[in-house]
Symmetry: C2
Subunit: 194 residues, 2 copies
Amino acid sequence: MAEAGDTTQPSDASERSRADATRDAILAATAALVSHDGVSKLTLARVADRAGVSKGGLLHHFGSKQALIAAALDHTLESADQALHALAVANGRPRGSFAQAYIDYVRDPDHTANAAAAILAAATLELDDPQAAAAQFDRWRQRLANDGLDDATATLVRVVSDGLWLIDLFDLAPPDPEQRKAMLDQVEQLLPTD
Amino acid sequence: MAEAGDTTQPSDASERSRADATRDAILAATAALVSHDGVSKLTLARVADRAGVSKGGLLHHFGSKQALIAAALDHTLESADQALHALAVANGRPRGSFAQAYIDYVRDPDHTANAAAAILAAATLELDDPQAAAAQFDRWRQRLANDGLDDATATLVRVVSDGLWLIDLFDLAPPDPEQRKAMLDQVEQLLPTD
DNA sequence: GCCAACGTACCGTCCAGTCGGTCGGTCGGT
DNA sequence: ACCGACCGACCGACTGGACGGTACGTTGGC
């Protein structure tokens, strides 16, 4: 789904073609539209308008609405993955570094807004491949399972973090910042101390 | 939104009119349709068909699609609330009884399927009153806050339980039964022991 | 005979996807 | 240096179908 080495790479990778910029604009518009106006407002015309292209132009890049959503999902999932790994490297824990990253990632509610939007969209409009998100989350699950934690704690970290942004997504009386912090700190103390 | 004592209660409450049975059938069909076929398949015609009535018949009971979803949401939220209170009474803890109930409720994934479906539907189709679900969850949050637990633990119980059924809902690599149990047991041990 | 509880036919709107076309650039031949 | 063939990027009008909602007819119980 993610094409890095494209069909006819003209000269060098650093030269981002205008087409790629348009693609990114469309992807960004998609995420922005969903998180601001809701899934029901996600129409090709609106996305195109927001991205500054025509509907025809949008469909030139993404062959269908499903393809657009799949690409948006892929994009946000991948950037979340990169952010998680960067956080894991940054904290430099010998054990539980990924768990620490997983917790830290959700400390900022804004972090997860776009990813949440993409997942909601993908779940709502049925994707050909609803496994795309599940596969990524399963990879994170495995990573967490091999992070030097016991099983129960690994599961707890995952459920708490994912639960938090899902609660944010649906606005199900999300905990206020202090409670959020206190709870995450409490979970963090279950991580191995080296 | 919740009409218990309706407009013209004829004689006694135990006499359930045929109209009420139809209403319930429609509500059940709504929940079943969403959880089996997904939100995008939730159309008035399909719900009516599944409930064994015509679209006109459906609209006789629920004036609009939004009204239907609001009623379905209200219905599932209310039954979840009753289940939670029954569980809380059953465990008879002096402190943390509601927290215990909140944990127990999500031990069985099937428990939450319908509620989840209704909430998803409500979130997707924008409801006039998106606060309906939030209000109920906020009531549970308050109940949890006054359950004899410290704030961090109360928040943790809520996030873990809600996180679990939200993960189930989106099928985001849900933990297997053993991990689920182990994690919930671990959280349960944070409750006050009397 | 009246009203609630339906059913049936229909309308207007919205929207995904199609299609023919425009425009700027590039590349090979000369 | 120039030209024509070609191509990717993009536009915008259009269509066909789905869907929410309306208008009106019908029936059965009280």
